[in-house]
Amino acid sequence: MEITLLIRILSSVLANSSPLVIAAMGETISERAGVINLSLDGSIMLSAMSGFAVAYLTGNVVLGFLAAMMVGALMALVIAFASITLHQDQVAVGFVLTLLGAELANFLGEPFVRRPGPRVPYMPIPLLRDIPVVGEIFFRQDILVYASIVLIVVVWFWIFKTQAGLRLRGVGERPEAAFARGVSVNRLRYLYTVVGGALVGIAGAAYSLSVKLGWSEGHTLGNGWIALAIVIFGGWHPFRVAFGAYLFGVLISLGGILQRSIPGVPTQVFQAAPFALMILVLLFVSGGALERLLSLFPPRMRRVVGDALRVAPPSALARPFVTE
């Protein structure tokens, strides 16, 4: 019984975390290119709404995802234009877009509130689904969940194994040097910001068409911020970022069960837990807290442990690139 419960919960976590994973991967590549897309929360919301609306009106999930992708990409394009071309503060533009996206979603989404609509089809994989434990956790999901897992590997492969990925890293670390080696820095930054935004859009539709079916006011609120924090926690490395997303998934999934199994704790504690955890993980990876933790280790281990835990953002993050 206990083991079945565990398997089922892990399977749910995998599914529930898939939008977070997708959004965090999108953000990872745009930040790797040097652009912070702070609008995540609003982008996810607006694309969740648009994705659902289009799928609802056409009855076609794929069209819904396409629409959501376009919305996410468009939001990212605004950020790219404002920051790369106009040199405006990425945080300011991103923050305003966060609010704008949420308000637009609520306004335009009115007619679609709580309508039953189409969903991403469930697609257990024959044979594999019957492998004990592994099959139950990994291979009884919808196509989106498989896609999100593949995405992690693809992003990792792209960043670390391909020439284009090397360029991506270079553009975010030292755009001047990348330029000197024939890379059109700003064009690449546009590209990755928009592609990252498209992924964020897919994450939005993943909520409204798979994980949290339908649309309601503030349907996905807060998840974008968590995705942003996960990217930092993950040190801009796809595997660690994914680990962070699943960690949050576990906590969120357990909220209901914990409320019953830990008596005496106010239920509000579990309600606010994801955001408390968000602060805690950032506290953990950031300079101050980590140094204090490291000082507990014997000096010889400090360096090794520190290298493993310390995260450094791309050096040129949020810094515009101007050619002479």
């Binding site: 020439q163 990925g165 030292r174 000197a180 024939g182 450094a312």
Partner: protein, 489 residues
């Protein structure tokens, strides 16, 4: 490949960085490019390597006109440049740096590249670890990586912009051997940019001297250094000879005092500095001098030992307490650490005042004070000029003007970096005035000549260790260079 530049013109605003400059380099030779600060050397080389598009003039390669508008195109045409601060990716691995910019198809062909990298380094006697991160390499090793990388891209012309700043004497010897080999054995054209005469004399087969954006003259080797100086500055500069200053009470005393940071540990040192004394800190960047300065300023807490300022134990005191005790620290990056872009000069002077200020600012008074300082320090600007609008030299003057009047200990990082000879002289004059008032000075510089000339004593740093404290009159550039490289011979 024979390189000819004809009548290159480039202006930055009202500054004519290059004003009709011509230059010829024969294949298989090393051509020196000499000039004082701001003469236009780097600009000319950036034009040749595609970073800057000229407003006039032509570039001929083996007699054929070449047109390119980006560094990548220049490399395709066979021209590569090594920048003063190597233009690489410190957070990436050596191998990835080597690969970056080579068209290797969709996937990174690491195995192939590693083989090529190792072969090329072996040919030149370099030891580069492909898996090391570039930010763990010395500047010399980063240069080697760039050389190897450019050669692998088939470059025929190599430009070195002040390659000897920041490397040790043994590394310099290796570099020079490499340059000779590149020219003689591999038949490359090498352009060597410097403002150090002796290097040019030692290495080059011909020298072009720039002054204020124009060619001041061209000389074939051999020649004398007097000729070169005359071409560079238009006159022979008499160097200021430091007056004998009688040293006073001990100002700063370090007792088995060490600093620990994530990147670097400074092993324990003991040192005593007396009022009016000037101590030069020599060493490659990142060897611990900067750490010593920042820790002496109270910005970093030492991990052990104690620090006394005029007999008072300052251990555990805050930076503010150090300021109150008459310590001042001037870092190298002026607009990053020192000045505040977005604020004007008057605001800077208000902020820098150490004595208790009234809660409300009297702006009329503040502007008056600022005006006086501006005059006193010859700053070209007004109280309402934003600091980012000042030129580099004037920013340095402003920083000096911001220092409090009476100081016990002055800690300086590269006080004359980026300044031309005349501005540098002015800066040192002001500093030496302080010294006569009894201020002790600790400074770092990458220019060993400056250290030798200005210091009473010199302490040499290497890899986080303070090796030795030498009497400035008992040593020379040669000895310092070897110590810096970690050799004691």
């Amino acid at each position: 490949m024979k390189v000819e530049l004809r009548g290159i013109k480039k202006c930055f605003g009202s500054v004519r960085a290059n004003d009709g400059v011509s230059l010829t380099v024969e294949a298989g030779s090393i051509q020196g490019l000499l000039g004082e600060n701001g003469a236009g050397k780097t600009t000319l080389m950036k034009v040749l390597s595609g970073f800057v598009s000229p407003e006039g003039g032509r570039i001929l390669l083996d007699g054929k006109e070449a047109l390119f508008s980006s560094p990548a195109q220049a490399i395709e045409k066979g021209i590569g440049m090594l920048h003063q601060d190597p233009l690489d990716f410190p957070p990436l691995k050596v191998l990835d740096n080597f690969l970056f910019g080579r068209d290797s198809g969709f996937l990174l062909k690491r195995a192939l590249a590693r083989k090529e990298l190792l072969e090329l380094s072996e040919r030149f006697g370099f030891t580069l670890d492909p898996e090391a991160y570039v930010n763990t390499l010395t500047v010399g090793e980063r240069q080697q990586l760039e050389i190897v990388r450019l050669l692998s891209l088939g470059v025929e012309v190599l430009i070195f912009d002040e390659p000897t700043t920041g490397i040790s004497t043994p590394q310099k010897a290796t570099l020079f051997a490499t340059l000779r080999r590149l020219a003689k054995e591999e038949g490359k054209s090498v352009i060597f940019v410097s403002h150090k005469l002796e290097e040019v004399l030692e290495l080059c087969s011909g020298v072009t001297v720039l002054r204020r954006g124009k060619v001041a003259g061209e000389i074939a080797m051999p020649c004398t250094s007097e000729e070169l100086v005359r071409l560079m500055f238009g006159q022979v500069i008499t160097t200021h000879v430091a007056e004998e200053v009688s040293l006073g009470e001990p100002v700063l005393e370090l007792r088995v005092w060490g600093v620990h940071t994530y990147r670097l540990d400074l092993s324990p040192v003991s040192l005593q500095v007396r009022a009016g004394e000037v101590i030069g800190l020599a060493g490659l960047e990142g060897s611990g001098q900067r750490l010593l300065l920042r820790a002496c300023a109270g910005l970093i807490k030492p991990s052990r030992g104690s620090l006394f300022l005029r007999g008072e134990d300052m251990s555990g005191k805050s930076y503010q307490k150090f300021l109150d005790a008459g310590v001042a620290y001037l870092p190298a990056g002026r607009l990053e650490e020192g000045l505040i872009p977005g604020l004007n000069l008057a605001e800077h002077f208000v902020l820098a005042r150490r004595e208790k200020a009234p809660f409300f600012i009297n702006w009329a008074l503040a502007r008056g004070d600022a005006g006086r300082k501006i005059e006193e320090f010859n700053i070209i600007g007004s109280p309402s000029t934003l600091v980012e609008g000042l030129s580099g030299g004037n920013q340095q003057r402003a920083l000096l003007a911001l220092l409090p009047d009476s100081l016990r200990l002055l800690l300086l990082e590269h006080p004359t970096r980026g300044l031309d000879v005349e501005s540098a002289l002015w800066v040192w004059d002001r500093l030496l005035e302080r010294r006569e008032e009894g201020t002790a000075i600790l400074f770092t510089s990458t220019d060993l000549d400056e250290i030798l000339e200005r210091s009473d004593r010199i302490s040499v740093f290497s890899g986080g260790k303070m090796l030795e404290i030498l009497d400035a009159s008992q040593t020379d550039v040669e000895q310092l260079g070897y110590l810096i490289g970690g050799n004691r011979g």
